[in-house]
């Protein structure tokens, strides 16, 4: 069976004072190969924990992660990750960053050259391959991070608020890029975001998570990601269902946030 199966994951952190935090409780998701899923939720709902478990950096206290039928227990190059701040290697130039994955596998430079050049072209950095990382703008750095992840040809790409640190205009351009890459490469993508708009535009499936314990609150199937591929995202936002869905989700998250606030005030 192909795809990513998140099978009844629970995550409990023990606290030094003897208590514990239930970061995730019985999360089950079946993500088909090639699906683009965005995850949204108030802070503390465990979405980053979920991503770290899928990436293999954390082991869940219960449940398993299965990729194409195999149980995964650690990080591997089949599950690539894009971080909020790029997490690029600033001692390497752009090209060396992108070819890091193939280099680690021992693929010779001459073999990986074509793919690296192609990816740099796809993300629009073909003229910057000799540049140092610190010479690039934030948006360009995220393009490098995307290309670096793709150069490894992973089955799943995990994105932890990859566009969160970018300004609004760059962010919009990058959203189009992510959609185009998704369509062109057919990768499974899980994208965590704080922005409702981004979740709507970049989510074929949209998962709203609730906190304490972290769990799946509601799931949407949305047409906007499909409409956005190759199109102007501002046109997508004019879609008749867009504003309504956005308001609904915002309402949902606001009420969750208020609930958390109320609870902390009670306990305090």
């Amino acid at each position: 069976m192909s795809g990513l199966l998140i099978n009844d994951i629970s995550m409990r952190f023990d606290l030094p004072n003897g208590g514990h935090v239930q970061a995730l409780k019985n999360v089950t998701l079946d993500i088909k190969s090639g699906e683009l899923m965005s995850v949204l939720g108030p802070s503390g709902c465990g979405k980053t924990t979920l991503l770290n478990i899928v990436a293999g950096f954390l082991a869940p206290t219960e449940g398993t992660i299965e990729l194409n039928g195999h149980v995964e227990t650690g990080p591997s190059s089949e599950r690539g990750m894009v971080f909020q701040q790029g997490a690029l290697f600033e001692w390497m130039n752009v090209r060396d960053n992108v070819s890091f994955g193939p280099d680690m596998k021992g693929v010779s430079r001459s073999e990986s050259k074509e793919k690296v050049e192609h990816l740099l072209e796809v993300v629009g950095l073909q003229d910057f391959k000799e540049k140092a990382i610190y010479e690039l703008s934030g948006g360009m750095q995220q393009r490098v991070a995307l290309a670096r992840c793709l150069a490894n040809d992973p089955d799943v790409i995990l994105m932890d608020e990859p566009l969160g640190a970018l300004d609004a205009l760059t962010r919009e351009k990058m959203q189009s890029l992510v959609l185009d890459l998704w369509k062109d490469t057919g990768k499974t993508i899980i994208l965590i975001t704080h922005s409702v708009e981004e979740a709507l535009l970049l989510g074929e499936r949209l998962l709203v998570m609730a906190p304490r314990p972290g769990r799946v609150h509601k799931e949407y199937r949305l047409p906007f990601a499909g409409l956005g591929v190759g199109n102007d995202l501002r046109e997508v936002k004019k879609h008749k269902d867009y504003a309504g869905t956005r308001e609904e989700i915002l309402e949902m998250i606001w009420s969750m946030e208020e609930e958390i606030m109320g609870r902390t005030e009670e306990s305090a």
Partner: protein, 436 residues
């Protein structure tokens, strides 16, 4: 008192040259580049650039003060100097029966550093001969005195007189002015005092300049620098002294880094190594390397090995801590990114942790080199056969202040060169430092 005068002149030069330079070098006070467009710059640190006119005047001021307060031959305005040459004073002796007689003391004052000068034949200077005098009439005879500048001598006027103090004769005037035992008479050329027992003493006028023993003139130091390069001191030329010191620093630092960096990495990467080395590092780190010198001398003697071991210990803890903090400075997202790109543990270490820790290691290396340089000089001061510290401590025993000053200048220049060199190396090797 002289110190306060130097301070006053220095402060005066700071403000005085500012007002003069502001009128003369207007362009040096203009804002440059983008700062020109800023309307308010006071409090904006980025708008402050070092005024190069000030730097030049600052160096000139120090040099001028050096010249002004020493017996330099450099033609710059100078403080009044010590008296040098021939002078004289008269004294009147009164006997118990009231008869008096006057005699003259001829004084020859010569340079205190005469033996360190060289005449036209290449011979070292000698103390000059005493002034030839006639004994004169009466029971008090004329005397001579030969004395170095900055010195002080008792004039045994009775030695050649026909009377003596035991017979009740005493001095009642100097240069015609009445004087009591314990009193003093100042002239332009010096001070004549009577001791409590009534014997005259003479001290030539000192002026405000420092004797060569305390502060040699710049040209004396320069000559000594040339001489040290040509002739050497204690069997080694200045270059050799410097080379030995530098060699010890480089060797000690090299081994300190060679052992310290892997230990630091191990402490940053494994709990066993951190637990193992933590107590040692935390205990040894606060011990100043100088405190280890006695033990090092007992164990290794005063030769090269002891020095290198000491500098190794000076550099080791700094390099361990630098490498360790370099590892802890790696953002976890970079490590995670490398893992999810398929890197093995060894590749994480070599491709991510090592390059990422280079800025920290370089900062540590800069500190360690500075500490090593300071420590080697101090270690050589305590005990060594050769080296800059050895050179200046031996010179100090023979009161060769000029060699000490040459040594201090060389130590300062090399310390500065090490710092500048490390900075250049850093911007060349780690161009991303501070830009991420």
């Amino acid at each position: 008192m002289t110190g306060l005068l130097v301070l006053a002149l220095y402060v005066g030069a700071f403000f005085g040259s500012f007002f003069i330079a502001k009128r003369v070098f207007k362009s040096a006070f203009e804002k440059k580049g983008f700062n020109r467009l800023k309307t308010v710059t006071f409090g904006d640190e980025s708008a402050v650039t070092a005024n190069r006119v000030a730097s030049i005047v600052s160096i000139i001021t120090v040099f001028w003060l050096w010249v002004a307060f020493t017996n330099s031959v450099i033609p710059l305005p100078k403080m009044p100097g010590p008296f040098s040459g021939d002078t004289s004073f008269t004294y009147t002796v009164q006997l118990e029966d009231g008869t008096t007689d006057e005699a003259k003391v001829s004084v020859r004052v010569y340079r205190e550093d005469i033996q360190q000068t060289v005449d036209e034949n290449g011979e070292p200077g000698r103390e000059p001969a005493a002034i030839e005098i006639e004994p004169g009439e009466g029971f008090a005879k004329n005397d001579t005195l030969t004395i170095a500048r900055y010195a002080f001598k008792v004039v045994n006027v009775w030695k050649n007189d026909e009377v003596s103090k035991k017979e009740g004769s005493k001095i009642i005037t100097i240069n015609g002015q009445p004087i009591e035992p314990g009193g003093e008479i100042k002239t332009d050329d010096g001070t004549i005092r009577l001791t409590e027992k009534g014997t005259p003493t003479f001290e030539p006028a000192k002026g405000l300049r420092m004797a060569r023993l305390y502060l040699p003139a710049p040209e004396v130091v320069l000559q000594r620098f040339i001489w040290l390069n040509k002739e050497g001191y204690q069997g080694y030329t200045l270059f050799e002294h410097t080379r030995y010191s530098l060699q010890r620093v480089l060797l000690g630092f090299f081994f300190g880094a060679l052992i310290g960096i892997p230990i630091g990495y191990a402490m940053g990467l494994t709990g066993w190594a951190r637990g193992w080395f933590d107590p040692i590092v935390e205990f040894m780190r606060p011990i100043p390397p100088l405190a280890l010198i006695p033990l090092i001398i007992i164990w290794f003697g005063i030769g090269e090995i002891g020095k290198v071991v000491l500098l190794f210990l000076a550099a080791l803890w700094i390099m361990i801590i630098a490498a360790r903090s370099g590892v802890s400075g790696v953002a976890i997202s970079k490590v995670h990114a490398a893992y999810s790109l398929g890197a093995s543990k060894w590749q994480i270490l070599s491709k991510v942790i090592v390059p990422n820790s280079l800025p920290d290691i370089f900062t540590g290396a800069r500190v360690a080199m500075g500490v090593c340089w300071g420590t080697v000089v101090a270690a050589e001061l305590v005990a060594a056969n050769v080296g800059l510290g050895k050179m200046i401590v031996t010179a100090s025993k023979f009161q060769l202040t000029d060699i000490i000053i040459v040594g201090i200048i060389v130590i300062g220049v090399i310390g500065f060169a090490i710092e500048v060199g490390m900075r250049k190396l850093e911007t060349w090797l780690i161009p991303w430092k501070g830009k991420v």
